[in-house]
Symmetry: C2
């Protein structure tokens, strides 16, 4: 059995039977019933996912996966392609947005080269949180044919699973997804359009901030790519290979790997959402292991979240990616778990319960 099918076969339904018991425990804490709203929901979900009565989310890890995209040749991004590699070095030196926010919430960032278009110089790296899983030097321009071979698509997902499993040995209680790849809102919009069946215009936004002219070009490019590639909307691997990206495949692998080990996974923004669509179409049970970090400014993100059935934790007009929203959201989820595990009960604190009305 392949790594991928072995992993998928291990993904089980989460244990819904624990919800009622957990809610009873929450109701016994010194607060009006249900008054901590979504924090209580997060606590229940974490119990259901992990099967632990009192889970801990101490070990927080964000996987920031980087890759390049051949479709950038079509002029779909406001930034030049070399920025992908430059940002990988920035991540490894700790100067990027994700480093600051991960540090703020006590999370570790693992940076993965899934397919950056140049070699990351090992001499410049010297960082134990870097993983080289390069599938290829960027995808092909998918306006002219598939972004990658089917074999590469599977390899990218399996590389994500491998990275997850390698890092799991160091301890992971909750995972966040993150991405870096100049041009990667273009494959993400293409995936969103194909899988959800919505019009390209509805799921295509300005990415890093393109102008009107570049946006209409981007929409035209995506439409053409979908027409040229004719992928099967129900086959996540086919969609990934035709109009995807290596970091998107890797993140789908992270999601599948985490679900197979009953570890909750916080999905960052639009690109991570496209990876979630791929993982979800491979195995819909992954949905219950997902927490949507936030609702991105990027047009189409809400459509992706609604398609899977996820309600975002935050809404802060973010559109950076890298896992920045995931970092902030995982801290909120952790807060919910601490409510369950650290608050006093009515009896323990000598507080009167509500009157029987």
């Amino acid at each position: 059995m392949s790594k991928l099918s072995e992993t998928v076969s291990k993904i089980k339904k989460i244990d819904y039977s624990l919800a009622e018991k957990t809610q009873k425990r929450l109701d016994n804490l010194t607060k009006p019933q249900g008054s901590l709203g979504r924090l209580e929901e997060f606590a229940k979900q974490m119990v259901e996912i992990t099967g632990a009565e009192s889970p801990s989310l101490k070990n927080k890890v964000i996987f920031t996966m980087a890759a390049d995209h051949g479709v950038v040749d079509e002029g779909v991004s406001a930034f030049p392609k070399e920025v992908t590699a430059q940002m990988v070095y920035n991540f490894l030196r700790g100067g990027a947005g994700i480093n600051v926010l991960a540090n703020h919430v006590g999370a570790r960032v693992v940076v993965v080269d899934m397919g950056v278009a140049e070699e990351i110089q090992k001499s410049k790296v010297k960082n134990q949180n870097f993983k080289d899983k390069k599938i290829n030097l960027g995808t092909k321009n998918f306006v002219k044919g598939p972004a990658m071979t089917k074999d590469e698509a599977i390899k990218s997902i399996e590389a994500g699973i491998e990275v997850f499993e390698e890092e799991l040995r160091k301890g992971i209680d909750i995972v966040g997804t993150g991405d870096m790849g100049i041009g990667n809102t273009t494959p993400s919009s293409a995936i969103a359009a194909v899988v959800t069946g919505r019009a390209v215009e509805e799921v295509t936004g300005r990415g890093t901030g393109v102008d009107d002219k570049t946006l209409s070009n981007k929409i035209r490019v995506i439409k053409k790519a979908i027409e040229v590639n004719r992928s099967d909307p129900k086959d996540g691997i086919d969609v990934l290979s035709k109009v995807g990206g290596f970091e998107i495949g890797g993140l789908a692998g992270i999601i599948l790997g985490a679900a197979s080990k009953r570890i909750p996974v916080v999905i960052d923004g639009f690109i991570s959402g496209a990876a979630a669509l791929v993982a979800y179409s491979i195995e819909p049970k992954t949905k219950d292991y997902m927490i949507a970090a936030h609702c991105s400014v990027e047009r189409g993100h809400r459509i992706v979240l609604n398609y899977i059935g996820l309600k975002p934790v935050l809404d802060l007009d973010l559109r950076l990616g890298e896992g920045t929203g995931a970092a902030l959201a995982m801290s909120i989820v952790e807060a919910g778990v601490k409510i369950l595990t650290q608050m006093a009960t009515f009896e323990g604190a000598g507080v009167s319960e509500r009157r029987g009305t």
Copy 2:
């Protein structure tokens, strides 16, 4: 000059002139311009409030103020009155929701007895984070006349200012407001109705979770109280004295005190919102020092936020009070400041900027 008028006279407009310069610095960091959305706004607001180019929000303090309410005699709450004092002990032992969440974000909780209906036993307390500023043993039932005298209203606000100034000596970079008081959504709804001019039904919710019958009684009680007391909607002190509460006055004092010292203040939920209405009606310039932590489930909270002109940071279906939403939100605001102060610049990180389009 009284403590109150002295404090109010020190509240200055925030320094809007710093916004442009700060945005330029943000635009020079290794991310697409504006891509961290509201985090960037928070960073700018903190610079404008403090006047510091690179503010730090390390010292986070939440003031959880407790008091009782005579109007509880009218059967407006699902919990018995003695819970207010019981929860004060719970706060001081660290078992309440606010303790868990403040601890999660690295904030200190200062618990203040503003008017609990029984004496807090000092022998049970032994906690340096407890302040006794009791104005009276709870307010009077405001269906029958004013909740407190005008003198008590001023004293409660001044006590809040005093508490803030006492704690400021230990170091405060950002403040959160929090409340505890069985029945205190009733005065808060009354204040909201009087100040905003909206119908009582629109600003009255279920508090700790009352049933339909108790809710209609609560609405009837508030309408009667407003009719009996005829307060001046433009005079925050008059409104506070007629239909307010001691913890609401104390929190208004915290807000005024913080603004007078150029310290940002994170407003928690509905009761803190009522306190913000009082502070805002005394001095509208306080608005710029406020951050709305979240949008509460409590009906009327959004009306209060819109009236002042505040956009909440979080929306997590919270309705506990105590400062729980403020704790989570202040950590998000701090994240925004760290973006400004800790991220690498394009030049520093050797990352190419966007193409001139």
